[in-house]
């Protein structure tokens, strides 16, 4: 009897607790019926704008993107018609190189699942640790960031990233592209920027070379009697199905990394961070290397550099014809993901056009992640992953996401933060 009461009480308290904490809204069901967004200003993500657009989507795919003045719409073919006159519609923003869902509270170790011990961990997969219940993800969605590349950190080879969409019951539902690439932290030649020489540099670099030296011939054979799971995990790098992401900043390291990928004939190569990339754009172009560019809201690394250099880098890379996108890794990276559109906005203040800047957080990201066939821009046939903002979404002053769809599903934009806002607004109304 006693135990029964305890069990009941426990259940009761758990339910109670669940109610309090259940602030991550339920994922939206599959899109049913066709939706039409009318009269909005459509920023397609590919550089184009349609001032008065109609956008239709059905079964999660975009079926219509057109200038409202030149197409005739049959309202009966849409189940839902939403008038977004004067509002802006954008493809969902994609956050590359992100730890969303792998971390919840930076200072609480128990909530950290992004950095495995050891230095050669290509087989470690971020996707299985991806927490769809993260409260941070909901606060990212309400600014228009709807997808991300969930990426492990640490070591020399950190592991495999996967691309997810941000409205799912579990990591399997969330997967957009599983194990899309392997992440390498190029060793530092110097103690962070200009300090003492890292005496272990050559040794560390050799470990990386040794790994690839052995992995390459291993991967030429398909059925090994003894499986090496590390080598198996990088098979895709040699057959072109996976991308190699090399995280590095300093110009000499970038140069060495490029020699490295050439040596092992790695085809799909992207530099991540790449602070000095703007100085070696020709080299990047010659080798067809794309860039996931370090947080725009950064300080210059060197005293005499242009005070606005990090703000200006997108323009420099754009003018040089480099395929690049913006990321936000760094301090408090998970929570800062929601500021990705404003990094693009800052790039506009320092040279890019708004549409070019938008491209660096949507279509360019999709291209680099090799998912541009199905997302990254508002184009017919692609996923209906998009959002509507009252005003210009790249400017914090006007960014206000009213509606968001992921693969046609209208997602619930509420969050724990909004709930707390409402809760305490009530407190003062009661007074």
């Amino acid at each position: 009897m006693k135990t029964k009461i305890i069990i009941l009480l426990t259940i009761y308290f758990q339910l109670f607790a669940f109610n309090l904490l259940a602030q991550v809204p339920s994922p939206a069901p599959q899109q049913k019926g066709a939706v039409l967004l009318q009269n909005g200003i459509a920023h397609l993500g590919n550089g184009e704008v349609i001032e008065n657009a109609v956008i239709g989507f059905e079964n999660g795919k975009i079926t219509l993107v057109a200038d409202a003045r030149v197409v005739k719409i049959d309202p009966s073919s849409y189940d839902t018609i939403i008038n977004i006159e004067g509002k802006h519609v954008y493809p969902g923003i994609i956050a590359p190189n992100s730890t969303l869902g792998l971390t919840e509270i930076d200072a609480v170790r128990a909530t950290q699942d992004n950095d495995e011990t050891g230095i050669l961990n290509p087989h470690v997969r971020s996707i299985i640790a991806y927490n769809t219940e993260s409260n941070i993800t909901t606060t990212v969605r309400f600014n228009g960031v709807l997808m991300g590349q969930i990426t492990p950190r640490g070591g020399l080879i950190s592991g495999s990233s996967s691309i997810v969409q941000f409205d799912a019951w579990n990591w399997e539902d969330a997967i957009y592209k599983e194990d899309d690439g392997i992440h390498i932290n190029w060793p530092n030649m110097y103690q962070r920027w200009g300090g003492k020489e890292n005496k272990e540099y050559d040794n560390t670099k050799k470990e990386l070379h040794d790994f690839f030296e052995n992995a390459k011939p291993y991967c030429k054979v398909n059925n090994h009697n003894e499986i090496n799971i590390r080598f198996e995990s990088v098979r895709g790098l040699f057959n072109g199905t996976k991308r190699i992401y090399i995280h590095t900043d300093y110009i000499k390291e970038i140069t060495e990394a490029i020699t490295f990928v050439k040596k092992y004939e790695l085809k799909n190569v992207t530099l991540v961070g790449a602070y000095d990339a703007w100085m070696v754009t020709e080299l990047l172009k010659e080798n067809n290397i794309s860039v996931i560019l370090k947080r725009v809201h950064s300080l210059p690394e060197r005293q005499e550099e242009d005070v606005y250099l990090p703000y200006k880098m997108p323009k420099i890379l754009f003018d040089a014809g480099i395929l690049f996108c913006l990321e936000n890794a760094g301090d408090m990276e998970a929570m800062n993901t929601r500021n990705l559109p404003f990094y693009a906005g800052t790039a506009v203040a320092y040279g890019l056009t708004k549409e070019q800047a938008l491209q660096t957080i949507t279509l360019n990201t999709a291209k680099i992640l090799s998912i541009d066939k199905t997302c990254g821009s508002l184009e017919i046939g692609k996923d209906a992953t998009l959002f509507v903002s009252t005003g210009d979404a790249l400017d914090m002053k006007t960014n206000n996401v009213e509606l968001a769809f992921i693969q046609g599903r209208k997602i619930d934009l509420s969050s724990r933060q909004k709930n707390l806002y409402e809760k305490y607004s009530k407190k003062y109304k009661q007074q």
Partner: protein, 1008 residues
Amino acid sequence: MKKIFLLILVCIQVFVFAQETFVVNGTHNNINNYYAFTNATIYQDYQTIIENGTLLIYDRKVVEIGESKKVKLPKNTVVYDLKGKFIYPSFIDLSSNYGMPEIKNDNKPNYGPQMETNNQGAFNWNQAIKPEVEAGKLFTPVQKQAEEYRKIGFGTVLTHQQDGIIRGVSALVTLGDEKAQLMLINEKVAGHLSFDKGSSTQDYPGSLMGAIALIRQTYYDVDWMYNNNHFKENNLSLKAILDNWELPQIFEVKDKLDILRADKIGDEFNTQYIFVGNGDEYQRLKEIKATEGKIIVPINFPEPFDVEDPYEALKVAYSSVKHWELAPYNLKLLADSAIDFTITSDGLKDKKDFLPNLRQAVKYGLTEKNALKALTYNPAQFIGEYANVGSLEKNKLANFIIASENIFNEKAIIHENWVKGKQHIIKDYNNFDVRGRYDVNVNGKLYELKVNGSEDKPQGTIYIVNGKDTIKEKATITVKGSLINLSFNVADSVAEPAYLRLSGAINYNNVIWDGNAQLPNGDWVKWSAIRKKDDKKDDKKKVDNNDSLAVPNIKYPLMAYGQDSLPVAKTMLIKNATVWTNEAEGILKNTDVLIKDGKIAVIGKDLVVEEGVEVIDGTNKHLTAGIIDEHSHIAISRGVNECTQAVTAEVSIADVVNSDDINIYRQLAGGVVAAQLLHGSCNPIGGQSALIKLKWGHSPEEMKIDTKDGFIKFALGENVKQSNWGPFNTVRFPQTRMGVEQVYYDAFTRAKEYQAKWDAFAKLNPKEKDKAEAPRIDLELETLNEILNKERFISCHSYVQSEINMLMHVGDSMGFTVNTFTHILEGYKLADKMKNHGAAGSTFSDWWAYKYEVNDAIPYNGAIMHHEGVLTAFNSDDAEMGRRLNQEAAKAIKYGEVSEEEALKFVTLNPAKMLHLDDRMGSIKIGKDACIVLWNDHPLSVYATVSKTIIDGAIYFDNEWDKVLAQKNKEEKAAIINKMIAEKKEGKKTQPAKSKKPTLYHCDTVGE
């Protein structure tokens, strides 16, 4: 009459000669002779030169000095003929640890705190305060060190144990090789201090500001002991400070700003320190001159960086290359500013670099006279020992050097260094310098010989005339005393070498060599060589070069984007701008603002100004009050936190403002004009703040805002209870929020009791005061009383509503108001209570999720507090975010629909109010300081960029000028790099390319 007196003196000296306390093994060997050094060029002191002079010494002292013909030599005189040679008083080094025991660092890993000293004796509570150390008692001569000094001309050093903050007294010792009793001249010469706690393992102080507070408190304690008839301790450290108070006090610093910091302490206690500088004094000459302090200056000029690889060169900061270029001018510039200084060899990696560097300084404009003065007269004067050393005068110590020529000539050699009348040969001048040209005759066959190389290692080239051809051959030359050996190949064919080997003597002062030679076939023959006359063209040319060196321009501060000259306030008209007044007038379109005398003079339309007034076109631009960052940690030297105790109200960021932080300029580029530089958040009661205007280029004192209200940092939550400090930091109280409350109650209870004690004491009549125990001045409790007296105001780092509520209760019951809760991410939960208490909230726009206590942080926080009537601001706590606070303000519009005008106030007027500066800053109002920003776009838009940032009517950032500066910096750095590479090619030692990345401080940064 004079002569008789002289005679008597000489006699007395004869009688007192050579008595000592030592036991002698064997027969005594007292020489009792005079020594005379004749026909030399003698520097009697730094400015008196005796040509063809004689120096007479006896019994360790100078007996007479003068023109050779006038100095009478007693019969028992050993005479050295020094024709052509130079005599100088030997040099004195005031910064040395010569003969001191090695300082043992307790290198065991320090897990967890060490709150008390490891020194259990009756000394100061802090392990870094050791005024009781007496160098004289520790001194033991160390010949290897002494010899290094002697080789570079030093005869005397002031030595002390270079360890700790208050280091004890130094001793003056000579650098001979005799017994310590003879070498020790004065065992108590000067007191020594530094900001470096050295080998102390005790936690406190953990920052530069802590070291400053510790020195001040210690001085107050000495004062307390001195003025208190009922002092209960017998504290040997305090006694030592008191005993040695009248001695010169020498303060070793790490850079030029430290000189200003130390001088401030000196001013407070009526002490003028002598400073041991760092060689960068030229960067703040005006301020250093104003300290009236004398300086002991090292000449450890940086080596050129190895920058042949342009990628490597990227790592070297502009400031480092610029310092390399300017460092050799430092002494000249100090002399030009009439700052008294001495030169020290301390800080040199290799003492051998001393003379070359000294000569370099002379080449770069330091006069020889000033150089000598800084090595002889000044050091002796600084420590009051000129009666003994520093010149060659009767009765002074016979401490002098003999040089081959003017010591500042590149080739000058120090032959001998006499210490207290004892000879130390460094390079025997009886050795022959065989360099030159000779005709060599070997058994009738003539050869021409050229000898180059160094004096020690001569290298010969022999020219063999073979019919019409002349063959050059290398000749090996060895000189030992007056013996010389030569050998060279005289073979006709390459295949079979045939050596002619000569050996013999050097005669007639190196004019003729002769001896026997053995031919390649084994036959013996005679040989001789005659020296040819030298031609001396080369030397003169070099001298001419020296005068043309102009001092490269000095930047303020000496870093990229530094100013050639400081910006000055001008009368300026900003025309036709959109003006965000932050006043009842709201936003005024097409409006002109006139700035005069650093203030906002007129606001109106179509203003007409007289000619010459600078007119800035504001068309399509926005003019706002400058951004004020309520919570910043830029521009701070060596530690933002004094984490070592729960209450450190005695420390102050104002003591450690760093004017050399590139982030000052970067923030100007983001429209920031002022900031509160806060202590960090690792203890419940942290240190005092500094309020500064970002007057880039000015000194720290000039940047500080003159305000009657002070501020202080308090902190709550995870940082103060050390939640995220790892498993070893579980000792310091408090470890829970419960403990934090008690820290406050305890601190303020003690503060009140302290005040009561002082008040009671003040009421006593003088007689009663004599009988009573005088209260101690406690800097920590003094500061807390400033809070209770409403002279100092709190900015409290806070997150969670429970603790915020708690502190307001503590405040209410103890009688203070929390001025501002900073961070205050749960302010939205108790905005009503904050309003009632009267606290403002200075928060982040959208930060969260970095600690457990910010799990409930929401970006709507600012809006809710604002809507509920709490004075609200957004701050940065971050050098990066600090330069785009306008964007952060805009987030208040996005999250919670604050109006644009009110949102802008979050980063302008509202922080000004929190910092009690709104009477002069924060809005565009006639009479207020002209601290304003001209934006190229709507100031709250992400697309806005700064056109101009104006502080007190002077332009500190200009978007166009910024580009010019960047280009100039690039060209200057490239030009200096060219010079460095040229020096490397000439064979100069280089250092690898590197720069230390400046530390970016946050609230929770521990250490320097």
